[in-house]
Symmetry: C2
Subunit: 167 residues, 2 copies
Amino acid sequence: MTAGKSDPSAAVTRVEDVDLGVLDDTLSFFVRALNLAVTRDLEARLEGMEVAHGTGKITALFLIGRHPGIRPSVIAAAAMKDRSAMARVLGDMEKQGLIRREADIADGRVQALHLTEKGERLAEDVRAIVRQSRDFFHDISDEEYTQVIDLLRGIYWRVVKSNQQKG
Amino acid sequence: MTAGKSDPSAAVTRVEDVDLGVLDDTLSFFVRALNLAVTRDLEARLEGMEVAHGTGKITALFLIGRHPGIRPSVIAAAAMKDRSAMARVLGDMEKQGLIRREADIADGRVQALHLTEKGERLAEDVRAIVRQSRDFFHDISDEEYTQVIDLLRGIYWRVVKSNQQKG
DNA sequence: AAATATGATGGACGATGTCAATCAGTTTTG
DNA sequence: CAAAACTGATTGACATCGTCCATCATATTT
């Protein structure tokens, strides 16, 4: 035998022969596994850029760019992090000169976030890279990609809202 | 106005009003964001159990249970981790008395992994919990859940194979 | 027999998410 | 109006994570 089915009584030697069992019907398994792969790929693409490491920075960069004056807690919710984790990310970005933190006029507790010019430029560069990151799924057809995104987008928003109520 | 569309010129105050921009068409964004939510939920469910923290342990537990004699590198590939990360997980599990590491008869470099009785028992308990973890997506219909799982499963296997060739 | 490749480990490093504590500003309540 | 309760944001501590590099033992190739 060359590359066909393996002897079921023998120990599995190749990943392709693995039976995932319960995990095969578990959404979180696939999400968590793919997260690792996707993150690795993304960070490779961002190599050297000033937003390496972590979902937070990219999300923050884009959301602040698109919604000047947005507040930290809203970004945290969108990135599914808690406020304290996001605060650290924003602190880093401020040190890097990517964003400004201003006090909201209406409510002194709230911060209004803005991109600096440097931040704007970086956002443009990162946007291009993020668009290219679809290449990681070059095996996947546009139909499939669209389908899975549509589904995940729906799930995402429901989770965000559900987090909203609890958190 | 009460809860309708917000003034587009005003700063965004609620997550629901956020426009994700490029991220809205980026699979990795949704995967990474959902990963955080899903992981949080799963770890809450595993509270106190001997497999808390990390995708690796659960995957290892199930794969070893289903494929006695499986080797570490195969589990690493299925979990999308690198070998050294998986080695640490397996080391922990061995210390906990969940698995045995035996030397493969055919190839001395290779380890053959087996569950201990304690490991078997734990696997059963964890299986039940993992099944329940679908409740996290109670908002999502069975159709949607099945659809998204089918799509992600396909993507998962393609990524696994693609990793195989490079790694 | 020597060189090369493979499977598995271990240490070091920076970054992550969580949690509890803190602080400032706001709203509620009496 | 003052006290209490609440909210948004920040900080520090802690355990863990993924990565990278070096190492070691064993197999395979030449």
